[in-house]
């Protein structure tokens, strides 16, 4: 062949290059490319996450700004609501206290009348006993005194007579 072209050597060169190409593909090209793709996917995922977080944060910021703007009105509303609730509660407490006081007074009245009745009933009986005792005492007391006076006088006269005899 002209220029020393040799088909066998061409085939040898091709075979040699095929080995090189296969080795480079499996050992370098594919692993490096896979790594780069994985990293790309990782960063895309991260970017997506951060974009989502950013949008959420912006929404929250907007919401908070709105809340901050409406805070005074909201505070006033809350205050009036609280006052109203307090008023209602106080009314309720006062009502309850009044009812309870009425009940207590009613009960006290009842108790007092019952006690009075009881005392009056007890006092009648006691007076009757006292009168009886007094009468008895009066009656019995006057008899014994006269008797004692008689005995004393008798004794005194006896003693006088004996002294005179002596």
């Amino acid at each position: 062949m002209p220029l020393n072209i040799d088909w066998r050597q061409i085939l040898l060169h091709l075979f040699n290059f095929c080995i090189l190409a296969l080795a480079l593909y499996f050992l370098l090209y594919k692993p490096v490319k896979n790594f780069m793709e994985k990293r790309k996917a990782h960063y895309e995922e991260e970017a997506e996450k951060s974009a989502k977080l950013k949008s959420e944060a912006e929404e929250m910021k907007k919401e908070y700004a709105e809340k901050l703007n409406n805070a005074d009105a909201e505070i006033e509303a809350k205050r009036s609501e609280a006052l109203h609730e307090l008023h209602v509660y106080r009314e309720k407490l006062v009502g309850e206290a009044e009812t309870e006081a009425g009940q207590i007074v009613e009960k006290a009245k009842k108790d007092a009348s019952r006690e009075r009745k009881k005392i009056i009933d007890g006092a009648g009986k006691e007076i009757a006993d006292m009168v009886g005792a007094a009468t008895e005492k009066l009656v019995l007391g006057s008899t014994s005194d006269a008797y004692d006076a008689f005995l004393n006088a008798a004794e005194k006269s006896i003693e006088k007579e004996e002294n005179e005899i002596k």
């Binding site: 220029l3 020393n4 072209i5 040799d6 066998r8 050597q9 061409i10 085939l11 040898l12 060169h13 091709l14 040699n16 290059f17 080995i19 090189l20 190409a21 080795a23 480079l24 593909y25 050992l27 370098l28 090209y29 594919k30 692993p31 490096v32 490319k33 790594f35 780069m36 990293r39 990782h42």
Partner: protein, 279 residues
């Protein structure tokens, strides 16, 4: 002036003086005819090397050495470097990623369809051309069948190596055409029938010219000062880059052209025309 710098300067001056004296006083050895040297560099008729019983050109031995070097490097990188790759790349990782990304992007830009295989092919071809051209710089010595010492040049400066890569590139282009367009793809590729010849001989011519210029320069002792730095190193580096770029670019361009899907021709029926006219 420091003592070390003084010693370095004086030693350098002494060596230069000794070299000049040698050049002036030593009789030059008989060198062969320049025509013969050039012919050998092109045809390799007298410097065949024995490869397991087959007489081959020095270029093939260079190709085998390049393959061995690259495969060993790839194995080492696969075992030690790739498992330690980080999300934030270091210098070596960045170099590898840049290389892979360069060829992958080139394939994607020039051939938007079916470019997965093309990227892998041009990565291998580019690496082969670049590394094998740089092998010229080392100037490895081998013994020929005749028992003479032979300097191993670039594998693509051998016509057989250049034809192999050119034809393979053409076949890869054709495979892209077949994968996308079937028989039409083959037709599109065959339309560029001069492509394998032009690709092969472009590589061969470019690398051989570098070799011949280097041979020419080293043939004459008077040209052996300063000039080899430019011719030997800079030219080799330059045409390693240029030839790599040219072959991978051409391959991916033609691959993209033949693998472009056919646009379906819209048949204008009479009914369609009438409907369009009515609107």
């Amino acid at each position: 002036m420091k003592k070390s710098a003084l010693i370095f300067t004086s030693v350098t001056v002494c060596i230069m003086v000794a070299l000049l004296l040698g050049i002036i006083f030593i009789e030059p050895a008989e060198t062969g005819d320049i025509t013969e040297t050039m012919k050998d560099a092109v045809l390799h008729e007298n410097d065949k090397i024995d490869f397991f019983g087959l007489p081959v050109n020095p270029g093939f031995i260079s190709a085998v050495i390049v393959t061995a070097i690259v495969v060993v490097f790839a194995v080492l990188v696969r075992i030690f470097a790739i498992p330690r790759f980080k999300l934030k790349p270091g210098k070596f990782q960045l170099l590898l990623e840049t290389m892979v990304d360069f060829f992958d992007s080139l394939a994607k830009q020039n051939s938007p369809h079916k470019n997965g295989f093309l990227g892998a092919y041009i990565f291998a071809a580019g690496t082969y051309i670049f590394v094998s051209t740089l092998l010229e710089l080392i100037g490895l010595q081998w013994t020929s069948i005749a028992g003479e010492s032979v300097t191993l040049g670039a594998p693509l400066a051998d016509i057989n190596g250049a034809i192999a890569l050119g034809v393979l590139s053409y076949l890869v282009i054709m495979s892209g055409g077949i994968a996308t367009n079937g028989f039409v793809g083959v037709g599109r590729t065959l339309k560029e029938f001069s492509l394998p010849i032009s690709m092969s001989f472009r590589l061969f011519g470019a690398l051989l010219s570098g070799l011949l210029v280097t041979e020419l320069v080293y043939h004459f002792i008077a040209l052996s000062f300063v000039l080899p730095v430019i011719v030997g190193v800079l030219f080799t580096l330059l045409h390693a880059v240029i030839q790599t770029y040219v072959l991978v670019m051409l391959t991916s361009l033609f691959y993209g052209e033949v693998s472009e899907p056919r646009k379906k021709k819209i048949k204008k029926s009479k009914r369609g025309l009438n409907a369009a006219a009515a609107k």
